[in-house]
Amino acid sequence: MLEIRNLHARIGDKEILKGIDLDIKPGEVHAVMGPNGAGKSTLSAVLTGRPDYEVTEGTILYKGQDLLAMTPEERAWAGLFLSFQYPIEIPGVTITAFMKAAVNAKRKAQGQAEMKAGDFLRLMKEKMALVQMKPEFAKREVNVGFSGGEKKRNEIFQMALLEPDLSILDETDSGLDVDALKIVADGVNTLRSPQKSAIIITHYHKLLEYVQPDVVHVLKAGRIVKTGGRELIEAIESKGFDQF
């Protein structure tokens, strides 16, 4: 699914990623844990093609394709999805208009006809129910006036609707209370399948109690310093990141 080799990236003249290697197979859920400033969000930015970040060295293959040569929208069409740490507000654009444009752009890219309006609304309703979003949110402007928890649920709703093959959850658990965390986790778990993979980026163990990863990586100062199983989560919880 994903092969990262010797990835170096910077923002401005500050090098943040200093040689990342990562392999993710279909069906696997990987956790990337690390202290603030380790480069976790830079990794997700580079994977999704955020314009301000520059890759200076290394390669990323996604489903055998050169990911770095693809535009952000092409990556989305190929099944990549990022749940944003800080979801963006888009005044004047409703969730329905936003997601309709997203779904139909992907269908167009794959040579399919646009979805019928009725079918789309039914699908939206079904996916919103998955994260307990009230139906009236369909008419709300994207993230405008949403609480922190509502924004994160909106991200998982979009993920459910777009059915990505590789999902990146960037600090999706930050700022969530226990109830919202459980709703989000249930949503993510529902979407797990032997074909679909995910990267869960977090500096905290809480979400990982609900969404159990297959592999855990520790990211520190731009490098993966340790890779293991779920036992690493406990080790981090009891002794912090200094031990690595």
Partner: protein
């Protein structure tokens, strides 16, 4: 009037008497330069005036929008909402004044002028002004000149919306409060030429 790219009542001076309501809508599409001079006097109690305008300009086009909203009587209400997008080397100048006369108590007057510039060469100047001589009034004005928000753009692209379509969504949502009903399609086509 009578020009393909421009809809509007004639610019000039309007008197709005007691209890009357004036509604004006201006649309300036790419392909021409325009000077719009507008002077509106609210002369009798309870008079209302509402002005909406949008302009889209490109190349070396110039749009000048000059409006004086004069509240001369008590209990009158006025709103102005004027939004535009400038590309190319276009030049936009907005100059809007709200005057509230000493006798015009219980006035409500609002003015907004918002602009997006698409290129470093496009220039927008906006000068909203208030001259208030009465004390019991609700007045506000606001003016902005900005660019399309790059964070919004990336968010939309990350969901699979192509860049051109994402920019279109941003521009349409920015203009939506001033697009006349039923003309969305035409405005969308005009934006594509910017």
């Amino acid at each position: 009037m009578g020009h393909g790219h421009y809809i509007a009542p004639p610019a000039g001076q309007y008197l709005v008497k007691a209890g009357e309501k004036l509604e004006l809508q201006f649309v300036v599409l790419p392909g021409e330069s325009r000077d719009i001079e507008l002077s509106i006097d609210l002369t009798g109690p309870g008079a209302e005036a509402h002005v909406k305008a949008l302009y889209l300009c490109k190349a070396d086009e110039k749009v000048n929008f000059h409006v004086v909203m004069h509240h001369k009587a008590a209990g009158c209400k006025s709103t102005q909402l004027i939004n535009g997008i400038a590309g190319g080397q276009a030049q936009v100048h907005f100059d809007g004044t709200i005057v509230v006369a000493p006798d015009a108590q219980q006035t409500e007057a609002y003015q907004e002028n918002h602009n997006i510039v698409l290129t470093p060469e496009a220039k927008v100047e906006t000068k909203p002004q208030l001259e208030i001589y009465a004390d019991d009034v609700k007045c506000s004005h606001g003016a902005t000149v900005g660019q399309l928000n790059p964070d919004e753009l990336f968010y939309m692209r990350s969901r699979g919306i192509p860049e051109a379509e994402a920019r279109m969504l941003q521009m349409l949502s920015f203009l939506s409060p001033v697009i006349p009903e039923g003309r969305e399609e035409e405005i969308e086509q005009a934006i594509k030429t910017l």
